[in-house]
């Protein structure tokens, strides 16, 4: 089982080496939990019954003057722990972004790209700024996970999942993951997932109530459960958004919505392997 959406922001061994990480986490990412040793992350995975987690950085040097983990730091974490799959992040506003992405994948061994339009200050459909990065990702054969939906950073317009439609059309071989299921635009997300084979969405959303209440609100109230069970079972990936939410709580919440074991197996494991290119899709 894989958590497709985690941030290693509060790992104290890394913050001790780079105190700027803590400032960026608090002031740009708006997360203010206590720092925890790397061991806590591992134990959280164990308690949750998960084997691996994808760890995500954000390169927001142009827009916010910081990086929430560099690609090198992500690669270092992956060397320290075999339980992590590292994604890269590049700043689309910098001309060398495609080259940096190629270096992160080919030299550092990172497996995907994370983008956050509102935090990085770009529009996903911007052909001049964003498209060169998508072209590089498509050429490298890696998936792109894009923050969509509710954001604590200014600029909610750029994170409407509908912004991804042109990208999905123009890059049919590029696997795009809509983060946070695009909440509150969950109908738009569902429509895009139905329409485009190369689009996926992760479950890492919790903005009010308890995880199981929020999960039921999306899968069962806003969207019929049968939609996920019958039509989207190959398009949804489990994600927690740890450490904004503990992994164990999101696992429990998703298990409680009433999906079949077959759908859960796809969402917790097989779909992630498919997006990572380790397994054929169906």
């Amino acid at each position: 089982m894989i958590d497709f959406h985690t941030h290693p922001l509060l790992v104290e061994e890394f913050v001790a080496k780079d105190p700027e990480l803590l400032r960026a986490s608090q002031e740009v990412f708006f997360i203010r939990n206590r720092l925890q040793p790397l061991q806590t992350f591992h134990l959280e995975l164990e308690v949750s019954g998960l084997q691996k987690a994808i760890i995500l950085p954000v390169d927001a040097r142009s827009a916010r003057g910081c990086r929430l983990f560099s690609n090198e730091q992500i690669a270092e974490l992956c060397r320290v722990s075999g339980r992590f799959i590292g994604f890269a992040s590049v700043d689309p506003l910098q001309r060398q972004a495609p080259d940096e992405l190629e270096r992160a994948v080919r030299l550092l061994g990172l497996r995907g790209l994370k983008l956050h339009p509102s935090m990085q200050g770009f529009s996903p459909g911007d052909r001049e700024v964003a498209y060169p990065v998508y072209e590089a990702a498509a050429a490298l054969g890696i998936p792109v996970l894009i923050h969509c939906g509710m954001t604590w950073a200014p600029g909610c317009k750029s994170v409407n999942p509908m912004e991804l439609e042109s990208v999905a059309c123009d890059f049919p071989s590029l696997k795009l993951v809509i983060a946070h299921f695009g909440w509150p635009w969950v109908h738009e997300t569902a429509m895009l997932l139905l329409k485009y084979e190369n689009l996926f969405a992760d479950t890492s959303c919790l903005y009010f109530d308890a995880p199981w209440e929020f999960m039921r609100h999306i899968f069962g109230e806003r969207l019929p459960l049968t939609l996920v069970e019958r039509s989207l079972r190959h398009k949804v990936l489990f994600g927690s958004d740890y450490p904004r939410v503990e992994i164990k709580n999101m696992v429990r919440a998703l298990r409680q919505v009433g999906l079949s074991d077959g759908a859960l197996e796809l969402i917790f494991a097989k779909n992630a392997l498919c997006v990572l290119g380790e397994r054929e899709g169906s």
Partner: protein
């Protein structure tokens, strides 16, 4: 008078568990030089506690189970809202309530430089929202 205050770290490994910290408290007393006085133990977190009970695994489980019945995780809590102080939704009200019910501190006499306690009493750090790295304070006062 001697006052020695030590902050200690404990790593919980489960979502909820009682961790015996008696040896750590005894060590702080031994290193303090206090012969006659008082030792107090406090947790630094509002979703954990300090509990004194008999050192039996069955009781450890019973205490966690009983507190969970009194404070069910699926209860209807106002705490489940976005908390800007943390940058996240608070949904661990049950852990906070367990901390209130179980208590956050314990005190024992120090006599002849040693912890004076009942032969079956153990001091536990109570984790209600783990696994996490946690801090607690041991303060020894006396002469």
């Amino acid at each position: 008078m001697i006052v020695r205050t030590v902050r200690l770290v404990v790593q919980s490994r489960k979502e909820q568990e009682l961790i015996d910290i008696t040896p750590a408290v005894e060590q702080v007393i031994a290193e303090s030089g206090v012969q006659e006085g008082l030792v107090s133990v406090f947790t630094m977190h509002t979703s954990s506690g300090i509990i004194v009970t008999e050192g039996l695994p069955c009781l450890e489980e019973d205490i966690i189970a009983h507190l969970s019945k009194l404070c069910p995780s699926e209860g209807d809590y106002l705490h489940r809202r976005y908390l800007s102080i943390d940058g996240r939704v608070g949904f661990n009200a049950d852990a906070h309530l367990k901390s209130v019910l179980g208590g956050i501190s314990a005190s024992f006499p120090v006599v002849s430089g040693r912890l004076l306690k009942g032969s079956r009493q153990r001091i536990y750090f109570a984790e209600y929202d783990g696994p996490l790295s946690r801090e607690y304070v041991v303060q020894v006062m006396g002469k």
